[in-house]
Amino acid sequence: MSKNGVLTGTFFMNGDAACAEGAISAGCRFFAGYPITPATEIAERMAERLPQVGGTYIQMEDEIASMNAVLGASWAGVKSMTATSGPGFSLMMENIGLGVMLETPCVVVDVQRAGPSTGLPTLVAQGDMMQARWGSHGTYEIIALVPSSPQEIFDITITAFNLSERYRVPVIILTDEAVGHMSEKVVIQEVAAEDLVSRKKPKVTPDKYQPYKPDKDLVPPMAIAGEGYRFHVTGLTHDERGYPAMNAEAQDKLVRRLSDKIRLNRKDIIRYEEIDTEDARVIVCAYGITSRIARHAVQLARNEGIKAGLLRLITVWPFPEERVRELGKKAKAFVVPEINYGQIVLEVERCAGGKAKTLLVPHMGGSVHLPQTILEAIRKAAK
């Protein structure tokens, strides 16, 4: 263990544990959560590790309280996180919206399991993808990252904190039960201080400070409680002073900026991985656990002489529209395997713009796709 309690070394670790370690490496020192399969191990690890590093773990009475406690701790200046699964994610929605509206840096982990409702609590699905984007009411944009291995969960959790601090927005880590509960090699290296991002601090004195006056990047510097700024923030539509401004003009200005803050900084935010797409006629677009099976299916297809490639989404929101549009012009078809009845496929189809066909390979949940199933779809798409 390094000086500040960050765990360094090579481990055989499950995804949930890797997420907790990633958070601690990123500087997270507050976790508020509620037990829910398959995310509970994140809470348990944080309960053990946070006191070791001078942080705070609290188990709140429900997921709604957990999300609010995370927002409060962030406003006290602490990097904060919660973790849950589908049913808890649904409960957190209103206050994720509060986080967006107050522009509060924080990380929300959803270890997806099969739904709807109680569903299959211990088994994998990818059914919350659209919910992550649209789950809270009103008009907003969000950032959501999708890891596909315990190592990647570790790395992505650090990225999530950095993005949330830079853009002052809740960032969702949309993992799944398979990745969360699998154990693999995780290499943890010391993260250099300059690779960690913290929210911009005000550059003016309290008398001149306006909580929602943005810089050129559309992100306002953030004062925290207790430093003499005496600010007011509200979930009501507000002006740059932070006070309620209940009219259409203020709504347009604020809500547009909250979305543009993410949209205009897409190049910095969007991440994906491409394998063999340069000459691909069929591109498999996949994410999370499914992308690992898809990778194998693409290899099998290549072995049969089909020019297949893989576009593996790492950020699912904002969706990499530009890249999918580009690929859609060259490829014959997209194949989208996902453990739901068609969610991200809708985005792929939209961006394919009628140029490339889009073929969904659905799985309702409870287990993962077989490579053969995806291969058959690739063959069909290649005809």
Binding site: F30, A32, P51, Q52, T56, I58, M60, E61, D62, I64, A65, S66, N68, A69, V70, L71, G72, A73, S74, W75, A76, G77, V78, S80, E94, N95, L98, L102, A223, I224, A225, G226, E227, G228, Y229, R230, F231, H232, V233, T234, G235, L236, Y243, P244
Partner: protein, 262 residues
């Protein structure tokens, strides 16, 4: 200063007592964090020049918990209404009191949801009229001091907005006392609750408080139920010593350190 409250509303009085209570307690204004919920009472946060957070309905307490745990040096206060804190926020209320988190909660009880037009709430007296009880309320209301004391709060008081001096003193005491402090403030809502229940002016309600409130410091909160048009028992009911959340946490973690478990 322009504000949103109706003529005859008592929230302004409660806010003034709160501010004077802060002065009386001699607190550093830079260290105060005020969290409010949704409703007329929730608007207080926007009128006090301290770090203030107008959060979602019923969720001021967990937000305040996060603030306090994130920075224990903050002096955290919560302003909330009867519906915000005891209906949608009820679960958070009992758990925050149970934990004995160091914060001060001012609950304005005007017996209805004023902002949305006067619907019944968990403190609306039996048989009282409201926008959603046009024939009279048939749900027995909470006795908030009893509920909160039973949940573990270490300071529990109730005053009406007529009891300005006592309320100010209670605010100062509560702010200075470690642990979970809860002050229920009975207030007129002449525009809706009062109008529907034969007391259409703020002054009518204040006369009622004057006639019917009985100061009983140290009273058993169990005896403080409120019946429509009946007596209102006010006073400082509970002022006890009990370890706070931080006391419990420090004790347990220090022991774990001694045993080399942490």
């Amino acid at each position: 200063m322009p504000h949103i409250w109706c003529a005859g509303c008592g929230i302004g009085l409660a806010t003034a007592c709160f501010v004077r209570g802060i002065e009386r307690a001699g607190l550093d204004l830079d260290k105060i964090a005020l969290v409010s919920g949704i409703g007329c009472s929730g608007r207080v946060a926007g009128y006090v020049k301290v770090d203030s957070f107008h959060t979602t309905h019923g969720r001021a307490l967990p937000f305040a918990t996060g603030l306090k745990l994130g920075n224990p040096e903050l002096k955290v206060a919560v302003f909330s209404g009867d519906g915000d804190i005891a209906a949608i926020g009820g679960n958070h209320l009992i758990h925050s009191a149970r934990r004995n988190i160091d914060m001060t909660v001012i609950c304005i009880n005007n017996f209805n949801y004023g902002m949305t037009g006067g619907q019944l709430g968990p403190t609306t007296p039996l048989e009282a009229y409201s926008a959603t009880s046009p024939y009279g309320n048939f749900e027995y209301p909470f006795n908030l001091p009893y509920l909160v004391a039973a949940s573990g709060a270490t300071y529990v008081a109730r005053w009406t907005v007529l009891h300005l001096r006592q309320l100010e003193r209670s605010v100062a005491e509560a702010l200075l006392k470690p642990g979970f402090s809860f002050i229920e403030v009975i207030s007129p809502c002449p525009t809706v609750y009062g109008r529907m229940n034969k007391r259409p002016r703020g002054l009518d309600e204040m006369h009622y408080y004057q006639e019917k409130s009985i100061v009983r410091n140290g009273a058993d909160p169990k005896e403080a139920d409120i019946v429509a048009d009946g007596p209102i028992i006010v006073g400082k009911f509970v002022d006890i010593q009990r370890p706070t959340f931080f006391d419990f946490r420090n004790k347990v973690l220090n022991k774990a350190r001694e045993q080399k478990k942490l």
